[in-house]
Structure formats: C-alpha cells, structure tokens
C-alpha cells in the first residue's frame, strides 16, 4: 500500500488536467441530476421542465464537444479514455440522435399520457448518453465493459418504460436476458485477453504482442467472445435475434433511438478494437494471426443477406425497419476494412444520414400509428391520396434508405462503396469483392420491400380513406428531415466540412 503513495499526487494531477477535456461529460452528469431533481420537485407545476433541461443539456454537450473537434489524440484519466477527432465525431452523432429522440418523446402521445410521467425517461437518456460518450472514447477493456453496460442497462429500462402490454414486457425481458448473456460472454473474453496479454489498455503494444504469442485458437476465441458483446449492440447476424422483437415491442421513439445511437457506439468500440490490428503500411487489416477480414466480411454478408431478405416478408412497418436496420449495419461494416480517412469519413457520413433517415421514418410511422392505429404495411392502402405531404416525405426517406438519388442516402451509400472498393483494391481479397457485390444486390432487394409502403399508399385504393391532420410537431420534424435529405445531396459540403 505504501508503495503506491508516491504515485498519488501525479495521478491526481493527471485527473484534474483531464477534467478540462471532460466538460461535456460533466455537463451530462449535472444535467442528469438536474433532470431528476426537476422531475421530483417541479413536475406538477412545470411538467415540461425536465424536457427543457434535457434538451438544453444536450445542446450544451453538442456545443462543448464540437469545441474539441480539431483535437489531437489526448489520453485522459491515466489512459482509461482517449479523446480524438473520431471520438468527437461519434459524440456529435450521439447528440444528433439524442436531441431528435428527446423531441420525439416530447411529441409522442403514449409517453406524454403515461401514468408514471415521462421525466425519468429524460434522466435515463442522459445517463445512456454518458455511457455512449464513454464508449466512443474508451481505451481500456474495463472502460469498454463499464460503458457498454451503462448503455445496456439504460436501454433495458427504455424498452420496458411504458410496459403497456404483454408485448412490451416480453420485448424488455428478451432484451435484458439476451443482453446479460452477451455481456457475460464478453466479460469472459476480456478476462482471457487480460490473461494472455497482461494489460487492459488496448493501445498498449504489449496487447498485440501478447495476443500474437498465444495460439490462434486461444486468442481468436477470446477476441470472438469480445466481438459477441459488440455484435449484440450492433445487432449483427447471428446476434440479431433480439432486435426485431424488441424493435416491434418497444415504444416507437425508443426503437428509433435504439436503432441509431447504441449501434453507432457499437461501431465506435469496434473501431477501437480493429485499430489494434490495422497494419499501418498497407492500411488494411493485417491477417497475421486471425483473418479478421474474413470474419468481418462474413458477418457483413450474413447481415446484409438476412436483414434484407427477411425484411421482404414483414408486414409490420417497425419490424420491417428493424430487419432493414440489420442490413444497414452489415452495409456500414463494409467501411471498416480500411484504416484511412476515407473509410472513417464514409462511415461517419453514412451514420449521420442514417440517424436522420431512421429517426424521420420512425417519426412518421409513429404519427400514423398514433392517429389511425395502422401498424401494418397493407393497412397503409390509400393513405397517399389523402395525406400527400406526409406520405411523400415518408417516400423520400425510404428512397434515401434504399440509397437512390436524388436523396443524400445515395451519396452516403456511394462513399461506403468507395471505401470498400478501396479496401478490395489494396488487399485484393476475393471475399471483399463478393461482399461488395452482395451489397449491390441487397440494394435491389431493399427497394422491393421499402417500396411496399408507397405501393400501398399511392398505388392502391382504400375503401375508407383516412385524412390525418399534418398539424403535429412530429410531422413537421419528419417533413423537415425529409427535406434535409434532399438538400444534402445538393450541398453535401454542409455535412462534409464537419467531418
């Protein structure tokens, strides 16, 4: 014990120095406490106070994070977390998703009319957001695990928050059980990694050399166990089983959030892990011990195939979007084969667009469900004639999800394809080419199911047409986001300059 005493002043100094870089997270913590207090004491008099506080906190966090945009890689708290340009970009993406989510909850009827109130939801969100931020910056196995669990626990609560029916309870239970098993496996994998390498720091040279010194079977097993934990967050095939049920069962705003922010954080962690294995010379994943290219490509192919093909047979809109998001995850994975600015640019661009598209799609779907109770695609018959503005916005969003011009979804898709082809160019591995071709094919397949919505809405007639009022904040947001998708293809520099 006495041996450690000389280190205390330096580690305190380090922590204090780190605090200045930690301002965004401190704001989140303060915001979290404020929202709880506000909800406890003022929820009767000012019911929307917690909403306003949460929104202001998130805006502040976004502002603070963007201040560090030009930062070089900075280790903090003794190297537990590292802040760099990429992690700031991820943090900004979380802010985008969270802000849209907060607005979504504010205008969701089920949440607003909930007996237990909605104030806790904002508190949970801020806590989850803190976890997401830490995930994006973590550089230590323990930190990865802690932040991942922080996000997971919050997500379980979110899914079960309303627990209005059997289905939601089932979804929350399924999610919690499946998540617990995955994180246990991940923790076991991490303990193995620690045993092999003697270090918890991912960027420690001892980590890679330690891994290389044990047999491939052992190190591969440990890595795969860790990847299982990450793949659960990403809902990659074959760890996707929870997602369709959870997406369908959870309240729609939560589904929209779960399909974006935690997924993006999962990618952030995946990048941290893959970073160890990138060969700086060839800029691709080195395959000295375990052919990571092969495993990743295989996962991407499976996710794209399963996500897109199973989506064809879905009739519930939310379930269809859930499967399609599995396909999107597989697609995004294609940008990770190369360790270069272009790869990261592509994935950040894609994710930003993906957040906008997904949030907008769920907002409009939620609005339709709230006003008419329609959840199935074949019930959308004839909606387009009566509610043209709303359905055209949804159409634009779906076109963007498919990745066709004239929406920015095309630009995003294009960038991911570019980085995947660059990776193929550099490595020449055939599996990458197969993956790229399957990605192209799945675009065609995705058109087929996404277009079932406009097919019903515009091409078919309904015996009893429903007219929705578009005077609703959610609709305005959906329309605005759809318009943004059109605008960004003409002016991609608006987004690109940030990256």
């Amino acid at each position: 014990m006495n041996d450690l005493i000389p280190y205390i002043p330096s580690s305190i100094r380090d922590s204090l120095a780190s605090l200045s870089f930690f301002s965004a997270e401190i704001s989140l913590i303060l915001g979290f406490l404020l929202v709880i207090l506000a909800d406890l004491f003022f929820s009767k008099r000012y019911p929307q106070l917690s909403f306003i506080l949460a929104l202001l906190t998130l805006l502040l966090v976004a502002y603070q994070s963007s201040g560090f945009l030009k930062i070089d890689s900075t280790p903090m708290f003794g190297g537990m977390i590292i802040m760099d340009h990429l992690s700031i970009l991820f943090k900004l993406l979380f802010c985008l998703a969270s802000i849209l989510f907060v607005l979504f909850i504010r205008f969701n009827r089920a949440f607003q009319n909930h007996d237990k109130g909605f104030g806790d939801m904002y508190a949970i969100l801020l806590a989850v957001h803190l976890g997401l931020n830490l995930m994006a910056m973590s550089a230590n196995l323990l930190m990865v695990y802690l932040s991942l669990e922080m996000v997971s626990l919050g997500s379980y609560l979110m899914v079960g928050y309303l627990s209005t029916g059997q289905r939601q309870t089932e979804a929350a239970m399924k999610y919690a059980l499946f998540g617990a098993v995955c994180s246990a496996i991940m923790l076991y994998g991490m303990s193995l990694l620690y045993g092999f390498t003697g270090t918890l720091y991912l960027n420690d040279p001892a980590f890679l050399s330690g891994l290389n010194s044990v047999p491939v079977m052992a190190s591969g097993l440990a890595l795969i166990m860790v990847f299982i934990g990450i793949a659960f967050k990403l809902s990659l095939v074959p760890l996707h089983f929870w997602s369709p049920d959870v997406y369908e069962g959870a309240p729609t705003p939560v589904t929209a959030f779960l399909s974006t922010a935690p997924k993006i954080a999962g990618f952030a962690v995946l990048v941290k892990f893959l970073e160890i294995f990138y060969d700086p010379g060839s800029k691709t994943l080195s395959s000295s011990m375990l052919d990571l290219n092969y495993i990743l490509a295989f996962l991407a192919i499976l996710s794209m195939l399963l996500g897109n093909f199973v989506a064809i047979w879905q009739n519930n809109v939310k379930r269809m979007l859930a499967y399609s998001s599995i396909g999107h995850t597989g697609f995004m994975l294609m940008a990770l084969f190369i360790f270069s600015t272009s790869g990261f640019k592509a994935i950040i661009f894609y994710m930003a667009i993906y957040v906008i598209m997904n949030m907008a799609a769920f907002m409009i779907v939620d609005e339709i469900e709230e006003k008419t109770g329609k959840q199935n695609i074949d019930e959308y018959k004839g909606l387009g004639k009566q509610n043209s503005l709303l359905m055209i916005s949804l159409l634009i969003i779906l076109i963007s999800l498919t990745g066709l011009p004239p929406t920015v979804g095309f630009t995003a898709k294009f960038l991911v394809f570019s980085s995947a082809l660059e990776a193929y160019n550099l490595s020449g591995s055939a599996i990458l080419l197969i993956m790229i071709m399957i990605a192209s094919l799945s675009t065609v397949v995705s058109l087929f199911y996404y277009f079932k919505v406009p097919l019903n809405a515009f091409l078919r007639e309904s015996p009893d047409p429903v007219k929705l009022s578009i005077r609703s904040a959610k609709v305005y947001m959906g329309i605005f986001l759809a318009f943004l998708l059109l605008l960004l293809i003409v002016f991609p520099s608006m987004l690109e300059q940030l990256i």
Binding site: T341, L404, P405, F414, F417, L441, V444, F451, L455, F458
Partner: protein, 531 residues
Amino acid sequence: MNLLSILIFLPIAAALLILVLPSGFQQRFKYISLGVSMIQFVLSVFIYTHFNNTAAGINREEQFQLIEKLPWIRLDLGSIGKLEIDYFLGIDGLSMPFLMLSALVMFVASLASWEIKTNLKAYFSLFLLLNTAVMGVFCALDFFLFYIFYELMLLPLYFLIGMWGGARREYAAIKFFLYTLFGSVFMLLVIIGLYFSVLNPATGNHTFNMVLMMDPGNYINGSVFSAMAGQSILGISARLLAFIVLFIAFAIKVPIVPLHTWLPDAHVEAPTPVSIILAGLLLKVGGYGILRICFSIFPDAAIQSAWWIGLIGLISIIYGAMNALAQTDLKRLIAYSSISHMGFVLLGIASVTTEGLSGAMLQMISHGALSAMLFFLVGMIYNRVHDREISNFRGLAELMPQFTFFVMIAFFASLGLPGFSAFMAEAFSLIGAFTSEDVNGLLPRWMAIGASVGILLSAAYFLWTLQRMFFGQVRLKGGDTWKDQLVDVNTREKFALVPLAVLALLLGIFPSLLFDKMNASVLALVQLITG
C-alpha cells in the same frame, strides 16, 4: 444561366409551380406542361441551328458545346487524394439530336396526357420531373451527375406506371424498377472503380469527368481499369468486366433479348403518354449510354465484344419481330416491334463503322419519333373504346379515314419504306454491318443478311395488322356503340401526329439534316474506338 441548365431545370420549376398552385387550377396543368415542352423545343431548335458541325466532341473537352462546369462535391479522402465531382454539362453531335427528340416526344406526350383525368397535380409534377431527368441524362458529362439523372428517371416512371396504369400496373411498375435498378447498382461499382483509376491531369484529383475517362493517359499506373496494367477480377480482365457490367445496365434499357421482358409489361400497363416516353426516350437512353460510356470509355473491350453485341442485336431483331407477329394486343405488338427496331441500333453500333454508327444514331431518332406516333395512335383507339385487341376491330378505314391515314404513315415508315427515316436508318445500319467484315473485321456478313430478314418480318406484321384491323367490312366487337365512339382524329391529336410524321418524312428525304450535325462526332468516335 447556361442554355442547357435552362433546358434541364425549366420542367422542375414548372413542377414546383404546379405543386403550389391550388387544385382549382388543375385543368390548366396540362397547358403548363405543354408550354414547357414547347419552350424546350424552341430552345433545342435554337441549339440545333447554332450548332457547330465541325466540333467533334467525344473525347475532347474543348470541342464540346454549351459547356457548363461548376465544382460540386470536393471530398478530401486522405490517403487516396481528393474526390472531384462537377456539375458538368455539354453537348456534341451524339447528344444534340436527342435534345430535340426529347423536347418533341415530351410535347407529344403532353398532348397525350389529355386522357389523364385523376390526380392531375401528382401526374404533371412527376411528368415534369421525368422531363428534367431525361434532359439531364443527355447533357451530363460528369459520370456522377449522369448517374443521378439516370436513376432519377426511375422514380417518376414507377409512379406514372403504377398510379395511372392498367390492371396489372403494380406488377409492371415494380418489375420495370427492379430490372433497371439491378443493372444500375453494378454500374455504380464500375463508376467507383473508374474514379479510383482516373486522375484529372490539371488538378491531380480523382475525377468523374467522362471525357477524361476516355483518355488512357489519365489512368493511374497499375490501377484497376488502367489499360496498361491489365488487371483481372475473378479471372476476367477488369476492363472487359466493367464493359460488360455497363453494357448490361444500358442493354436492359434498350432492351435486348433476353433482358427485355419488362418492356411489354410496362408498355401494356402504362398510360399512353408514359408509353410514348418509354419507347420514344427511355430506350434511347440505353443506346446513348452504350455509345457515350461503354464504347467511349472502354474501346478495347468494345472491340473484343463487338461480335457478341452484333449477335445480340440480330437476335433482338428477329426475336422481337417474331413475337410481334404472334401478338393479339395492338400495344404489345408495337412494344415487340420496338425491341426489333432497337436491335438495328445495336447492330449498327457493333459494326464500329461510320455508316453503322450514323445509322444507329438515325435509327434512334427515327424510332423515337415513330414509336411515339405508334403508341399515340394505339392510345387513341384505346381511349375511345377501351379495347385494343386486334381481332376486335375490322374495317376501321371506313370509319376513321384520317386515323387510318396516319396509321399507314406510321406503319409504312416503321417497316422501312424508302422515303421515310426508318429506311435510311436501317439501310445505313445494315451497310455498316455488311462492310464491317472488310473495314475492321468485327462482324461477319451473315449478321447483316440475317438482320434484313427482320425488315421482311416487320413488313409482315405491320401489313398483316393493317389488313386485319383497317381493311374489309366494318365489324366491331362493341357493335354500334363502338361505331359511335370511334370518331376520327381531332385537332389536338393532329397537332401531336403531324410533327412526328413530318420529322419521319424529313429525315427520310434529307437525312443529311442530321448526318451533317453528327458526322464529326461519329468520325471521332470511330477513330477513338478503332484507335
């Protein structure tokens, strides 16, 4: 604002106008659409008369006319350099004729849109959006921009067929969409491969400029599509594979046998104006793409594949004609005849001779006008009695003499009667295919001979249809009610038919009106391909 930009974005502006106008004005929307295409036509005639015949274009950027070039997307990709996407428009002898054709066909399609009675706001907005996309495709010289316009055509067409089509419209619309998208997603991969390979010598950036892609000197040494490097993908030469992928993407549009099955369905289900645009313009986008992109960027692979392309053309001619003979639905018959006639385009292109390429170009323009005319005529009958089974009509000549007159012009022109444009076009394509064996040895003579059988077959189905439907005693399935409904051509319809007939006649007698304008470009293209 450049003339080409006006040509492209005028319809969008009109579409926005239609969207904001209250529904009370919906009877006026068709005049807006008609007015737009008339302005476009005037502009394109202006472009035609001021066109410099000697500037070849093709692979020389400075020889393109009405160039407009604005930087659009500049993305820094770190290690591999900078990405350069331009808003780059320009025309040469290959694209200029299509601008006129587009304006004319859009004019006729607008006149045919009088038959649309429901949901006019949506219809004309989509119609004008399609107009923009078509014009954009023919003007774009940046591959990225080209692709955006190319894909943009699909959406409005899907809804135009799907919302205003016939009984099986859902099936036809999605089939058309999936078919075309299937071709174009792989095209996207080739585009990406190309920009990786090509550098703009002036700026050192990776570029999407199609003109720069045609110069082997701009390719990075050892890149995928560099001709020197000779890289292969999955055992096939990378350049050949890219050529095949691009060719298939465009060939689906043309369409070639066996990738044609979307066409009869789409035509039969589509409303008349959409059929007119499909046959008159969309198929030409395929042919134009093959010339502008496949053959110009990958000339070496084009020479390698010429024999096969010629064979595909021949098969399309014969198979399309045979199928047309067997049809009982008039619209389906014309749809198949389109496949047959577009086969001549492929045959002419595959010959890579000046005659063949000129013939192919003329055939596209001529078929654009004639197929628009044919579908318009079918639409006239269908509108009157909602039937178009050949066997349900007989002796129409007695009831509708003027209509029969126009049908005879369209039929005779289409089957290649001398004096009409199709004769000139098919003759030149055949001459090209016939001389190819001596000039460059690409196509054997029997292909030209086989193709001439196609002309014979087309005479057979057109004349037989004429005899069955128009001659003989009046006998109609619908009896006297039909007799009252089958009124002769009205003024609006004459306005649509006369310009098309005049164009077919004019190009048949003075093909030099077109040949003069595109000769320099065709020569440059032949030079580029055969090296």
